[in-house]
Every structure is written in structure tokens, then in C-alpha cells.
Symmetry: C2
Subunit: 197 residues, 2 copies
Amino acid sequence: MSPKQQRRRPRSDVQRNRAALLEAAQRHFLQQGVGTSLEAVAKEAGVGAGTLYRHFPTREALLAAVLQTRSEELEARRADIAQIDDASEALRQWLRAMEEYFSAFSGLPEPLMAAAREQQPDNPLTVPCENLIATTDEYVRAAQGAGQVRPSVRGYDLFLSAVSVAWTMGAGATDEASLDRLRALIESGYRQQNDEE
Amino acid sequence: MSPKQQRRRPRSDVQRNRAALLEAAQRHFLQQGVGTSLEAVAKEAGVGAGTLYRHFPTREALLAAVLQTRSEELEARRADIAQIDDASEALRQWLRAMEEYFSAFSGLPEPLMAAAREQQPDNPLTVPCENLIATTDEYVRAAQGAGQVRPSVRGYDLFLSAVSVAWTMGAGATDEASLDRLRALIESGYRQQNDEE
DNA sequence: ACTTGACCGGAGGCATCCTCCGTTTTACGC
DNA sequence: GCGTAAAACGGAGGATGCCTCCGGTCAAGT
């Protein structure tokens, strides 16, 4: 049984091409949104279409890889937020951080929602989504424990609302004042009122 | 100057083709969403691609024409809602009616938001959107007059929230319970609390 | 250096969009 | 009815993008 599998060292051009593809893809996603032409990405990276699809079989796979960098930034912000004493304020900031993350590229909310829905692990965006929902739920529970958030609220609900707001930003290019009012609407929706129990 | 313009009677095939296109388009929008293939629509209507594009120069134009029928249903519901005494309940039902209207076809929220943003009248969806926003604002003002909705809320804000919820329904296929919680979140966000002034 | 297998590139098949123009259809005057 | 011209039709075709496939290339190990 012991396969002994003397693996060859990975070739250097593989890593080089992968890095070039990721950089080009990020540029295009930023400028053109997630629907950008993958052939244009390949051309800008200086590789053929086949190479792109070998590295990233689907658009979602490429997107997930590009988002990996940003996920780390989000994780850093999460660490900062964990220092905050006020559970309600921590939740608030976490929601804003997620919103910004979701707004990184125009059209990003679509595939994220699709990934959150279909639980199948063949979608490379599913796992990140699950993690975000779980993290949100932690913040929600903490704030509920402090009596600052209604008991009926789920982490998933606020994840949904954050994706919705991000979609509104990207699709609508709504002015900042409207967004603030929309956020205020949601926030006063989930917060526990003083006279409630 | 008087051109006298003795206009010829419009040809009969024009109206026939237009009707066939609208029916085929509605079927396809219902089944495939607003992104459906326009060539398939033309084929199903039994006309060439050129005829489709002559009648409806853009996808939005076709969409607006198909939505016209549904707009009339919405108008009928608006008339019903106008009978309701409780301003808050009227607003509530109006928001639900808009949500259902926005959920008619999968992917409909996107072009609606685009139309609401760009004020240019070359987009055939702009006028319907403006009307919906204005109507929503009337309901909001009425409910504010009765002290049931916070003064800071604008009709546009609740229009946005309705589009967002519709997008969530369409894109996410979220379960009904989550949607109810999301709606409750928004509703408790815009409602005037008893202890507020 | 040379072997070998992993890797590369881009041509090509397919789908869709949208336009252009030769052909057909229709309304109207006789 | 019938001729005529304006209006409308239709589908070929150029452009773009997706994704696959396979002959050629390149680097890791000997």
C-alpha cells in the first residue's frame, strides 16, 4: 500500500502564473466588477485562457482566491473589534466591516448569496460564508447576553441585512445619506428597546 | 408649415408581433429570469431577432413593457390599500405589495435599482420607479402625520428596503422564516416607538 | 544533456448580442 | 381587384465571451 509517492517539486512557473492571474483578476474585479471578462484577465496576466481555467476552474474559484487576501484584512479587523467592551458596539462595527468586505467588488453580493444558499461544498465561496455567519452569530449572542439585542434575532438575519446593504451600495450607487438612514433603520430594528423584555 | 401628415393606418402585423413578443417575453422572464436569451424569446414569438429589437431596442424596454401589465395590478392593490384607516398598516401592506411586484421575475431588482439611480429618462424603467418612490413617500408622510413612523424616514429609504428584500428573495432563495425576520427588523426600524417624540 | 510528465497556449466550437439590408407584407388610391 | 411605395420583416453575420482540447514546451530530477 505505501505509495511512497516521490512527489516532484512543483514547477516555478505555476506559482508565477498563479500570482500574475490573481493580481490581474483583482484589478479587473475592482474596475469592472465580478462579471469582468475572464479572457481579458488571462490576457492581462500574460497567459492563455487554458492556464486560467486550469488554475481556477470557475469564476467563483478565482473570486474566492482573490478574496482570500481581503479575508485576512477582515480577520484583522475582527481581532480589533474583539477588544471592544460594549457588545452592541462590537456588533455594530462588525456589521460595518462585513459590509465593506462585501462591497469590495461590484456584483460580489450575488455569488455570495448563492454560496450561502447552496450548502454544497463544491462552491469555493461556501466555507467563507459559513464562517462569516457563524462569527456574526457569536457577536449577536454576546449582545443578546448583555440585553442589547432582541432575542429573536439570528446571526444569519444580520448577515443577510449586511449583504443587502452591500448590494444596495454596489447596484444602486445610492448616496451616502440614504445608506446611513438604511443602516439606522436596520440597527434600530435589531436593538433591544429599554421597555422591552 | 402645416404638414397635414396624412398618416397611414398602422399595419396589423405590427400589433400582432408586439403582442406575441410580450407574451413570449413574459413566459421567459417568469421561467428564466430577466437575463433570459432574447433570441430565444424572438424564436418563441415566431419572429426574427431584428423584429424584436425594432419593437424593443433594449432589454429594459422589453422589460418595462412586460411590467406594464403588472403595474396595473399593483395600481389596483394601491386602490384597495387606500381604503385602510390605519396609516401604519397601509404603509405595511404597500411595502409588501411592492416587494411582490419586485419579485415578479428573478433578477428584476438589478435593473430597477439602475433605473432609480440614473435619472436619465432614456431608461424606460425610470418613470415607473419614480412613481413608486413618490407613492411610498405619500404613505410614509401619512403614517408620520399619525405619529406612527419616525420623522427621519424617507419614502425612498423604504423603497430601497423593499427592493433589497426582493433581491434577497430572488437571489438567495432564503427560507420564508428568515425573510419574515428581516421584514420585522425593518418594520421595527421605521416605526415610531411609544416613548419617542 | 536528456527524459519525462506537468504545464502552457490559443485555436475552435458554442452561445448570445445586436445590426444591417435585401425581401416581403400591408394599406391605400384607383 | 390591382399596382405601388412605405413600412416591417427576418436571418445572416460580425463581435464578444465561455470553456475545452491537444500538440508543443519547459523545468525538475537523473
